[in-house]
């Protein structure tokens, strides 16, 4: 299995990596000392398992997971003490390690991971992770998205996104004059967005409700959504309800 180790304390990373190097089936593909780097490496290296510290400055372990679209690796949370997180782990996480831990505890954890990989119950895991994040952070929806842009990794605040357009297996995020692409389906992204902030107005378009200036009647019951920056988006009939409720 390909493993990524994330912790803001170098000695903590060293200990975990020293233990993991003793395992024949483990390949350490990278290490990260902060959340932003962790998110970028997960996207880039596509590890099977991430040992993820929860309390890190800037971006916590949970926030790292929030930014990930598409495939989420198996996550083993590593924490020193966090009563709320531990409660959430007990219910939803595959496993977690409480610091300090010994070899035996790590062995137990690794056998669970192996078990899970052989069963590869990906979809189920994804749903469990979403629940865990929602419970531990107190939010059900993502607050930022990670996108690659000209070879750099950029973290976008969800609030700053004006509108989103689907293009096959990609979505296009419009943020002011900029456009970013992420590899995720519109349906999957929609499930991570707060419906009080965003609404689907078309099969292939989601808009930020704060950006809507006006709705103009269009042909046969359709409307034209006009954003504050002048962008015009056609709204199909079946999505009227999404705006009228708001």
């Amino acid at each position: 299995m390909r493993v990524l180790v994330v912790d803001d304390e170098p000695p903590a990373r060293r200990k975990l990596m020293n233990f993991l190097r003793e395992e024949r089936d483990v390949e350490i593909v990278g290490e990260a000392g902060n959340g932003a780097k962790a998110a970028a490496l997960i996207e880039e290296l596509e590890p099977d398992v991430v040992f993820l510290d929860v309390q890190m400055p800037g971006m916590t372990g949970f926030e790292v997971l929030e930014t990930l679209g598409g495939r989420v690796p198996l996550i083993v949370f590593v924490t020193a003490y966090d009563q709320y997180a531990v409660k959430a782990f007990e219910v939803h996480a595959l496993d977690y390690l409480l610091k300090p831990f010994d070899r035996d505890r790590l062995q137990t954890c690794l056998s669970r991971v192996r078990d899970q990989i052989s069963r590869s119950a990906g979809a189920d895991l994804q749903a469990r992770m979403q629940k865990l994040i929602a419970e531990a952070t107190g939010r059900a929806y993502a607050t930022r998205l990670m996108v690659k842009h000209h070879g750099r990794v950029v973290f976008l605040q969800i609030r700053d996104v004006d509108w989103i357009k689907a293009l096959a297996n990609y979505v296009e995020l419009h943020v002011g004059a900029q456009t970013y692409m992420i590899r995720e389906t519109l349906n999957s992204l929609e499930s991570r967005l707060d419906p009080d902030l965003f609404a689907r107005v078309h099969r292939s378009v989601i808009v930020n409700l704060d950006r809507i200036k006006e709705l103009q009647p269009w042909s046969h019951n359709d409307y034209l959504v006009i954003l504050k920056d002048g962008t015009e988006i056609r709204m199909s009939r079946r999505y009227h309800r999404n705006l009228k409720d708001g």
Binding site: D8, E9, P10, P11, A12, R14, K15, N18, G33, N34, Q55, P57, G58, A80, Y81, D82, L98, K99, P100
Partner: protein, 372 residues
């Protein structure tokens, strides 16, 4: 805690509960004024019988009880209310004092009006008529006024005494809470478990270094337990604890972080709140330099400037983004610092959060300088 202290505390709790019952409190209070009236009645009756041995008991009983009840049940609640409103603070005390002097007049007039009404009613029930002052109203009013001045001031002083006692006790309680919170912050489980994890990692790499860290952690715990019960300690003691803390933090987060400690010799023996610096430094670690990868720097300074002890902690991280209120909100680690300073020094302290012009955040604390 010894058994003696325990039972004494229990006794106090029970008495508190007793007087917490509103109805019972009024019964006890009325009984107290009845006793005052009866004592005065004894004295008045003996005084009358010295002149005319057959003097009946009910007139002096009427006089004294009417006087006591009008004061106790009518005027005391009124005067307590007034006293709570007339504050004795810098700038207001003279006005309050003058107001109290003037208020003795209506106080006495209300007292006389109340008791004369009661007396007239009781005399009428006996088929007699009560004549206040026997024709010399002014002399009688003055007579009552002189007695009432004493009563008035006794009530005011007792009220103020209670007020100060309560304020003092509350302040003590709040201070104790803040101290306890401070101890909890120092012995933060996060800090402890992460430090133990670091030591466990070091054991595989360098047993000697791991041993050093165990000693540092033990020394820090000892110092924390010893000083956290004291509101103030010499700054020197706090700096020793900070050194231990910094050694541990450097071992946890690599040694690249440069730490500069710059303390005036005269500041070392100044009294400062115990363990005041550590939360500020922790904050600089967590929200400041932890977010930059190279050239991280934390500066800690202490100086005495015009009878003021000035403590500074600055970093070269991204600086404060949030407004001051958010910085003091729970969970940021600085709210307890603010409340301890408030308890210990009132408005004679300042706590400032600023972003340095060259980048980074700075926290500055100023408290009155006192030598240990």
């Amino acid at each position: 805690m010894g058994t003696g202290a325990q039972s004494e505390m229990d006794g106090r709790v029970r008495f508190d509960e007793l007087i917490a019952n509103r109805g019972l409190r009024w019964v006890l209070y009325t009984a107290a004024w009845t006793i005052i009236g009866l004592v005065n009645f004894g004295s008045a009756l003996l005084g009358m019988r010295r002149v005319s041995p057959d003097f009946p008991a009910w007139p002096p009983l009427t006089w004294e009880l009417s006087s006591a009840y009008v004061i106790g049940l009518g005027l005391v609640p009124l005067l307590v209310w007034v006293t709570h409103r007339l504050e004795f603070r810098r700038g207001t005390w003279l006005g309050s004092l003058i107001a109290h002097f003037l208020l003795t007049v209506p106080f006495s007039l209300l007292h006389v009006a109340g008791m004369v009404t009661i007396r007239k009613a009781v005399y009428w029930l006996h088929g007699l008529s009560y004549n206040f002052g026997n024709g010399n109203l002014l002399r009688e009013l003055l007579f009552e006024y002189y007695k009432d001045i004493q009563t008035y001031w006794i009530i005011v002083l007792v009220t103020l005494g209670f007020e100060y006692y309560n304020r003092y006790r509350e302040r003590g309680q709040r201070l104790a809470e803040a101290q306890l919170q401070n101890l909890r912050d120092q012995l933060n489980p996060h800090f402890l478990f992460n430090t133990l994890n670091m030591i466990s990692s070091k054991m595989y790499e360098d047993v000697g270094q791991a041993d050093v860290m165990i000693t540092r952690l033990s020394d820090l715990l000892r110092l924390t337990l010893r000083t956290s019960s004291q509101p103030e300690v010499p700054l020197q003691t706090d700096l020793e604890a900070l050194d231990l803390y910094l050694d541990i933090m450097k071992a946890r987060f690599a040694d690249e972080i440069r730490i500069e400690v710059n303390v005036d010799p005269s500041a070392r023996d100044a009294l400062a709140p115990s363990l005041i610096l550590q939360p500020l430094v922790e904050n600089a670690f967590r929200h400041g330099v932890a977010q930059i990868t190279e050239g991280a720097q934390i500066r800690i300074g202490a100086a005495v400037n015009d009878h003021t002890l000035v403590l500074r902690v600055s970093d070269n991280g991204p600086g404060f983004e949030a407004p001051r209120e958010n910085l003091l909100s729970r969970g940021f680690g600085l709210s307890n610092t603010a409340s301890r300073l408030q308890q210990l020094y009132g408005d004679r302290h300042s706590l400032e959060f600023t972003n340095c012009p060259e980048g980074g955040a700075e926290v500055v604390i100023q408290i009155p300088y006192r030598s240990a």
